[in-house]
């Protein structure tokens, strides 16, 4: 079994714990794919967090805009005619990613291993600074696909399960 195959249950567990706790949603693995740096995700936001220690890498999550708006409305208890500000939605996405990355590294690394994360960076459209090819774990949340993107520096790192 490759590192990537061994990483998949870790990612799925972290995604499930995060989405269940924050939004009461189930996460179902919906396959994986290899994408190139020019891949596009219409009507979506991406959020990137750099892993600073013990490995140097990053993770990116891509979520549809309407799904994040719905989650933000729920968290802030908004009623029908209220719409969240974009800054609230992006803050929500950053918090979601921060929580999920913390869970991924806590599950993946040994108990005594220290890790450090950078601050979430959120954007839309083409994702900057990507290598030519990266791995995408595709998950289904309700009817929505969510993509977790991993670069080589993550799944080939010495800390990835062998």
């Amino acid at each position: 079994m490759s590192s990537l195959e061994k990483l998949q249950p870790i990612f799925l567990q972290a995604l499930t714990e995060t989405f269940e706790n924050l939004f009461f949603e189930d996460v179902v693995l919906h396959g994986s794919s290899w994408l190139d740096k020019d891949s596009e995700f219409p009507e979506s936001w991406w959020v990137r967090i750099d892993v600073l220690e013990p490995l140097r890498s990053f993770l990116i999550l891509v979520v549809r805009k309407d799904l994040m708006v719905r989650y933000t409305e729920a968290i802030f208890g908004m009623i029908e005619d209220q719409m969240p500000e974009e800054s609230q939605v992006l803050d929500n996405l950053g918090e979601l990613m921060n929580t999920m990355c913390g869970r991924i590294l806590a599950i993946m690394l040994s108990e005594n291993c220290t890790f450090k994360l950078g601050l979430p960076v959120v954007g839309e459209g083409k994702i900057p600074d990507l290598a030519d090819k990266y791995f995408s774990l595709n998950c289904l949340i309700g009817d929505n696909l969510v993509f977790l993107l991993l670069p080589e520096s993550f799944y080939f790192s010495e800390f990835a399960p062998k």
Partner: protein, 129 residues
């Protein structure tokens, strides 16, 4: 009425913590929000607060410094402090315990995690205060 101060630079994170506490039946509490350690300190020197729940990584003044300031102050060190973090980090955990943290809770927060910590720290009857 009990006053709980939630400190986090993310408004979402603050609302998630508040909602978790509200669904536990602690909805009669007054929730105060602060976006960093300086804002939190400004609140606690002006008014009585029963519990501080804080994130670690924040701009201006982080949760480490806030915790330290609270616990070295003879006027404030009676206030319990919960630190909430996504960083499962043994060195950080040791540091927080040295500073006098009352609870360290890892994200994602959930009502059961908070209930156990709230009841152990403030008592089961506290929600009726």
């Amino acid at each position: 009425m009990a006053k709980l101060l939630i400190t986090d630079d993310s408004a979402t994170a603050r609302m998630i913590i508040q909602r978790c506490i509200e669904v536990l039946g602690w909805d009669k509490c007054e929730f105060l929000h602060a976006a960093d350690g300086v804002a939190a300190l400004e609140i606690v020197v002006k008014q009585q607060v029963d519990l501080i729940i804080t994130d670690i990584v924040m701009p201006v003044m982080d949760g480490r410094v806030l915790l330290k300031r609270i616990k070295v102050s003879p006027k404030l060190n009676h206030i319990p402090v919960f630190v909430i973090s996504s960083l499962a980090n043994p060195a950080m955990e040791k540091e927080m315990i040295q500073f006098g943290v009352d609870r360290l809770i890892y994200k994602p927060v959930s009502p059961p995690k908070l209930l156990e910590a709230l009841e152990a720290t403030l008592g089961k009857d506290f929600r009726e205060k």
